[in-house]
Symmetry: C2
Subunit: 255 residues, 2 copies
Amino acid sequence: MRNVYVIGIGAGDPEQLTLQAVRVLADLDVVLVIDKGEAKRELTDLRHELCATHITKPYRVLTAADPDRDRTATDQVGYTGAVGDWYDARAEVIGALLRDEVSAGESVGILVWGDPALYDSTLRVLDRVEQRGTVEFGYQVIPGITSLQTLAARHKVTFTGVGAPVHVTTGRRLAAGMPAELDDVLVMLDGSETFAALDDPDLDIYWGAYLGMPGELLVAGNLQERKAEIVALRAQARARHGWIMDSYLLRRRRP
Amino acid sequence: MRNVYVIGIGAGDPEQLTLQAVRVLADLDVVLVIDKGEAKRELTDLRHELCATHITKPYRVLTAADPDRDRTATDQVGYTGAVGDWYDARAEVIGALLRDEVSAGESVGILVWGDPALYDSTLRVLDRVEQRGTVEFGYQVIPGITSLQTLAARHKVTFTGVGAPVHVTTGRRLAAGMPAELDDVLVMLDGSETFAALDDPDLDIYWGAYLGMPGELLVAGNLQERKAEIVALRAQARARHGWIMDSYLLRRRRP
């Protein structure tokens, strides 16, 4: 059996690795990397640094070219279908690498920013590799600190009011508006600055970008008062880094 | 200044500590413990073990008796009010301990199971201590792995469908039913086994208890087929341990 470990490595701060992640990293034979191109070179470098620091024996790096993804879909059904096709293409690439480049008994790490359970495709892709049945392997999941947890820690806020729910969603979904029955919503993957289109006067925003990394940015306050500042910061930061990853909590002021 | 660290210590597995938590623990002068009585002695022992393992110098343990909480409220308003009073009482006790028992420059750790942002009162209590202004201190938050992340890792599932939202809520809130517009709901603090009252035939449940601990229990499958088994397991486990902490993901089967 090939042993695959899907390892949550935290939001960007190397100190967010858990002792479990450190132990598993130490013993890897292979690191499997899905190449996302030059844009996020900082993230790639950071990942290589984690490997160099914690893997205690010689290891191989296998790089899978990320298959092209159809980004033309405009509705949710088209989007989900395009993403499904892309998962299949990834499963094909990763299954072939595991079969042809990894020997039985070897340990393979797939390093995931944040936590593998939150808006990451690795588990869905491995599930498809398993269903294809073209390579024998087992896998385990190591949880990691997400950017949302880092966001809350930096702003010293909780996700929820007392005994209240919290909703975790994407910018794409938030475009329909802040759900009326919810007071606390965590938003990821909002490349379109959906927050800036919301006009509720009673919303506070706790925003953060590059959380846990050297260029970390934080803004908190009333959404209407702060949104222009966040939009400007995003534009500057994206120009400087070439990419941006941010997230935020929207919180309705309670009476 | 007294330096207070609110440290997320993971769901129960000592290996879920982050390197940041280990570094901060190593340098503590004081561990502040809120005594929750005998029932959860296993958890108290585990916390002492973490301290003994990672704190590298002599340290003091300050124990705050947990103030009584009015548990008679039957609606959300009464519940929130009772919890608010209890936070005030906790803030009084903790403020006095920090003022009288900790010297300026000392480091104080408050160890929180899971993550301080998720259904934990420590940040709200410290906010109240700060507002009272009776003691000078600063505080930082160290994120930790939650039981929900451990649950997802053990079951090898993601929290969400592709680009979909996830709702995190309590058993108390779920009593109103599985929200019709949601496919993925994570539930904590469900002492009343609310899941067992849901009759939707198309829900799957991924359930776990004592996650990350030696007595870990996991069940997954169709809710209607598995709920009796989970109710029975909960009763047995609670009788054996004297307490239970569990959580689950409810997932609607997609067409």
